[in-house]
C-alpha cells in the first residue's frame, strides 16, 4: 500500500473548516462541481496512479 491512510496532515481541523467554508453559499450543483474540480486538481498534484487507485478503493470501501 502506497497510500498514506494514517495521520499525515498537521492542521486537519483547519483544512476541514476551510473546505466547508469553500462550499458555503453554494447550491448543491455548485458544490458537486467544486468537489469534482478538487478531485481532479489533487489527482494531478499527487501524480501517482497507484496512490490514486488505492484512494478510490478506500473511498468505495463500505
Amino acid at each position: 500500500m502506497k497510500l498514506i491512510d494514517t495521520p499525515n496532515l498537521d492542521d486537519h481541523d483547519g483544512f476541514y473548516a476551510e473546505l466547508l467554508a469553500a462550499h458555503r453559499g453554494l447550491s448543491e450543483a455548485q458544490s458537486h462541481a467544486l468537489n469534482a474540480q478538487l478531485v481532479l486538481i489533487l489527482a494531478n498534484h499527487i501524480g501517482d496512479r497507484q496512490v490514486l487507485s488505492e484512494a478510490l478503493d478506500l473511498a468505495r470501501k463500505r
Binding site: 462541481a33 481532479l40 494531478n44
Partner: protein, 515 residues
Amino acid sequence: MPYDYKPFPYVAPPGLSAPEPPHKVVIVGAGPIGLAMALDLANRGVPSVLLDDNDVVSMGSRAICWSKRSLELFDRFGIADKVLDKGMTWSVGRVCHGDDEIFSFDLAVDPGQRMPPFVNLQQYYVEEFLVERALAQPLIDLRFRNRVTGVDQTGEAAHVTVKTPDGQYGLTADYVIACDGARSTTRAMLDLDFEGEFFEERFLIADIEMEADFPPERWFWFEPTFHDGQSALLHRQADNIYRIDLQLGWDADPEEEKKPEKVIPRIEKVVGADFDLEWVSIYSFQCRRLREFVHGRVIFVGDSAHVVSPFGARGGNGGLQDVDNLGWKLAAVLDGRAPASLIDSYNRERVQAADENILQSTRATRFMTPANGAERLFRDQVLALARKAPFARGWVNSGRLSTPCVYALSAPDDLSLPEISRPGTVAPDAPQQNGWLLNELGRDVTLMALNCAAPAGLDLPVIAPRINDMIRARYLGDARQALYLVRPDQVIAARWVEADARQVRRAVDALWEGR
C-alpha cells in the same frame, strides 16, 4: 467542383465460362483496405483476385484523416506523393468550449521523419489512386460488379460464390480475406457477430464545399452555442471540401435529419450561408470487434473485423495497419517459408491493436457524450478546469489520434537502448544520406547494424545506416553500438547492444514462428 465518379469497367470473369484454377488469395471488397491488401501481397509476389460488388469509389469522404504510418504504407504502394500533393497536411488542433478556444495542440511535423503526422484526403481519392495502382499491377485481378453471395470452407481451401451481371460462378482459394467493411457480408455468411459496446448516440456527418480558406486545422467544439450544447467538428479536406460532424443525440430520427432542409440550417450556424452541401450521412457510435479475426481460411481485415467510433482516425488507419501486419505473414505461409501458425500471430497482434483502438475510442466517446450524473459532472468540470489550469487541457478528450500499436513481444531487448524503438514498435524513420531509413529497410527480415559489424554467418540482408543525430536519438541513446532485427512490416522484432549469430538466428526463428 464535386468529385467526378467515373465507373470502372466490368469485364465478364473467366469463371463464368469454365471453372477457374484454384487461386492463392481472394479478397472481398475493394475499398481502401482491400486494395491495400492486394497491393501489399502483390509487392510480396502473391497474386490475388480482388472482388467488389460496386464499380465506383466510395460515396462521400468517409475516412479522411490518414496517419503518418498510413502514409508510410502508401509510399510502399506508390501513392504517397499523390496523397501528399492532393491532401491537406495538418498538425494543429483547436479545442473550444462554448464559443471560446480553451487550448490548441500542434502535432508538429518532425523534420527527422519523411511523413507528416496527418494528411486529410477524402477516401474516394485514396481509392482512386489505389485502384490505378492495382489495375497496373499484373498480380492483381480486380473484378468490379462481382458480388460475393456465398463463402464456404474445408480444411484445405475456401470457396466463394460470386454473382455478376452475367450470372453466377465459383472461386476456390487457399485464403479468403474479408475486407468488406463494417457491414461485412462475409461476416454474416459465416454467422459471426461483433462483441462490444454500442453507444446510444448519433452524429450527422457532412461534406460541404466552400471558398472559405479556413486553415487546415482540426476544430472541435464542446457545447457550442451554434449547436445547442452538443459536440461539433470542422476539418478541411482537399478541393475546398470541409467535413462537419454534429452530434444529434439518440432521439434524432436519422432519415429526417438527413434531409437538406434540416441539414443546411444547422451548418449555416457553423460556417454561414455560402456553401454547397455535397454529402450527408448519419452514424451511431460503436466500439466492437469479432472475438477472432482468423477463422480457418477466412481472415477478417479492417472494419469487417472491428469498428470504432470516429474522432481518433482509428478506422481507416487501423485497417491499413491490419494489412501491414497480415501481408508478409500470409505471403510467407503461402510460400512455405513459415508455418500456418504465423497467421495466428496476426490474430493475436491485431486483436491487441483493436482493443487499444476500442479502449481509446470508448473513452473519447464517453467524454464527448457523457451520461447524466457523475459522468457529465466530471466531463464538465474538466472543461471548466481547462480554462484555468494547464494540466486539465490534456484531460480534455476530443479523440486520441491513431498511433501504431506497440505489439507485446517477448523478444530480446536491451533496456539501455531508447524506448521509442523497443521491440514491438514500428521502426522510427530517420533521414539518411539520399533518402530515408524506412525506404532502406526493404520487404524482407533485415538486420540493422549500427556502428558495428553484423555477426558473421547470418543469411539475411544487413543494412548499416549512416549514424547521425536522429539515428543516435532513436536507436542508440547512450549506447555505442546496436543490432536491430526488423520484420517485413518494419516492426522491430528484437535488439541488442551486442549479439552473436546464434542469438540473432534464434530471434529470426521466433519471428517466422509468430512467437
